[in-house]
């Protein structure tokens, strides 16, 4: 009995140790952002130090950080919103009015998300260039909307199928209109699911790099493009880099922690809940 208890204790400790180990690079980045540049380079690395906000001040206020942040917020926000607005009616039709072709259509919707970005990047570049949409918010908003709509359709449809059908049927017997059915019966029940879907769209759009890097230059470039410029910061500004990086990942970390329960649904497009 006691050996078993000790084993369980060891196993639990091992799990927590591995969790901390996996998280350590993020923690280290977080800590580095509060160091002075000299301490950031100290060998052996310093675990205990007097924290300073100096690098945060420089990284956020004495650099163009907020311009990129604004771009990220505009692009991510609008693309998430539009993807929801476009995806919900489609999810509704496919959830409650399925036809023989619905299953095929759903698979097709999923396949559009699986299409490698490199398979479409060249024409998208040429089209956006011809429409004068290169390096504009609108260009990336359109593309991220297209990227997130399949996710919205799959997730929202699976949440809609969880709604007890009696509720909708009762409404229909009372003769509610489509709008009333959506507004008063379905959407209130869908709020948690929609929130999770929105958070996932936000995460994917926020972290995206390939399209952002190739389709923007400076005016509309989001944070992922800005952070990538640190690739040649030959070791001199680790603390400032860490501060900018921490500020960039923090919103997504929090969104992900909040949406933990729906993360699996979102990542597998609702194939696994």
């Amino acid at each position: 009995m006691t050996t078993k208890k000790i084993n369980v204790y060891l196993l639990n400790s091992l799990t927590l140790f591995l969790a901390v180990l996996m998280f350590f690079p993020i923690l280290w980045m977080f800590m580095t952002s509060f160091k002075t540049e000299q301490i950031a380079f100290a060998i052996p690395p310093k675990l205990i130090f007097t924290p300073t906000l100096e690098n945060w001040r420089i990284a956020l206020f004495e650099s163009p950080y907020f311009e990129f942040l604004t771009n990220s917020l505009i692009i991510t926000g609008f693309s998430t919103l539009v993807a929801l607005i476009a995806g919900i009616p489609a999810a509704y039709a496919m959830a409650f009015y399925p036809t023989k072709r619905t299953d095929g259509a759903m698979m097709w919707v999923m396949s559009t998300r699986m299409l490698p970005a490199v398979g479409v990047i060249v024409p998208l570049f040429v089209i956006l260039r011809n429409l004068n949409l290169l390096d504009t918010h609108l260009g990336l908003i359109i593309i991220y909307t297209g990227m997130n709509v399949p996710l919205v359709i799959w997730m929202v449809r699976s949440f809609m199928l969880d709604i007890p059908y009696e509720i909708i049927e009762a409404g229909r017997l009372d003769g509610v209109s489509l709008w009333q059915e959506m507004r008063y019966l379905i959407l209130p029940l869908l709020v948690p699911g929609l929130a999770a879907t929105a958070l996932l769209c936000f995460i994917f759009a926020w972290n995206e790099f390939f399209f952002a890097f190739n389709l923007t230059v400076r005016d509309a470039a989001p944070l992922s493009v800005y952070i990538s410029t640190f690739k040649t910061a030959e070791g001199l500004f680790w603390a400032k880099m860490s501060a900018a990086a921490t500020a960039t990942v923090l919103p997504v970390l929090i969104a992900g922690w909040v949406a933990q329960r729906s993360l699996v649904t979102g990542l597998t497009m609702g194939a696994v809940k």
Binding site: A19, I43, Y97, F125, W206, N214, K231
Partner: protein
């Protein structure tokens, strides 16, 4: 914890419909939008791939048939790039599967601090890949000031210039760190959907730990494993940001994969047509790998049932 196909079967049972309801068409605008934004560009990619269009040499764009497809196959570098694309993907898939499974099993037990452990463990997947890349490249793998070198020094080993000597292994490690949480999350969902009563029944029948895992847990997890690996393959075949930031495809072309080569062709050499042909090949490669993967799975299924 359900599988999507069960849901759609359910949906059809509830609402058997002969005639198209007008509300069926609510999906039309969105589907049209998706066609415009994904299928038309892909058709254009195919079209461009048959031209000789270079943005640096305007005018005189001609139809050159398969020249853009033949050229890469006459180039030894192309085979290396193809192999590296597949090698990177398969290595990451194997590593993340092993560690993802291990962590999922460890997390699938109630213990104090489990919620915290889970939260910490999913975090690498949420971090922007570009941030991961600058972080690993500078703070962790720097040969002089990096944390990895210091840890090696603690056990008396000399520091290593990881990115110069083991560039591909470094990329694999970085990408794996990000994707272990993904596999773990999906397998954990699978483990948690396994009813306790099934395990209990098997235990009463005298099944031990290994037998329990092999005959009860693994078959149940099969579908979750398939989904996790399939999605992983598709996404990691297309890794770009990490390679761009950490090694820029080098040294030489030692860490160049197909997406990075396409980027170079399109946006450094401005050869629209060559890049398009490689883009088409990338889509073909993705389909081949996925089909092979499905074939393997199907074979296993028939073997199990036979």
């Amino acid at each position: 914890m359900t599988i999507a196909s069960e849901q759609s079967v359910l949906a059809q049972e509830i609402k058997p419909q002969k005639k198209r309801h007008p509300r069926t068409h609510l999906s039309a605008p969105t589907i049209t939008f998706l066609v415009i934004i994904t299928q038309i560009p892909f058709v254009l990619t195919i079209y461009y791939s048959f031209l000789n269009w270079n943005l640096l040499r305007p005018g005189n764009i001609r139809w050159v048939w398969f020249r853009n497809y033949i050229r890469p196959f006459l180039d030894a570098d192309f085979y290396q790039i193809l192999w590296q694309t597949v090698y990177l993907t398969l290595s990451v898939v194997v590593i993340t599967f092993v560690f993802g499974m291990l962590l999922a099993i460890l997390l699938n037990r109630p213990f104090p601090g489990r919620g915290l452990a889970r939260t910490l463990l999913i975090s690498p997947f949420l971090v922007m890949p570009v941030v991961t890349s600058v972080l690993w490249k500078n703070v962790l793998l720097n040969p002089v000031f990096g944390l990895a070198g210091y840890v090696l020094g603690l056990v008396g080993l000399p520091s290593i210039d990881w990115l110069a000597h083991y560039p591909m292994a470094s990329i694999i490690a970085i990408v794996s760190w990000q994707w272990i949480p993904f596999v773990m999350l999906i397998l954990l969902a699978g483990l948690q959907s396994l009813p306790d009563s099934t395990l209990e029944a098997a235990r009463i029948d005298g099944a031990g730990g290994v037998a329990l895992f092999w005959y009860i847990v693994v078959p149940h997890l099969k579908r979750f494993i398939e989904i996790a690996l399939l999605l992983e393959i598709i996404f990691i075949l297309n890794i770009f940001g990490q390679i761009f930031v950490v090694t820029s495809g080098g040294p030489g072309i030692a860490t160049t994969n197909l997406p990075f080569e396409i980027y170079k062709e399109a946006f450094l050499r401005w050869n629209i047509s060559a890049a398009s042909a490689l883009g088409v090949l990338a889509v073909v490669l993705a389909n081949i790998v996925v089909l092979m993967f499905m074939r393997i799975i199907q074979q296993e299924k028939t073997e199990v049932s036979a």
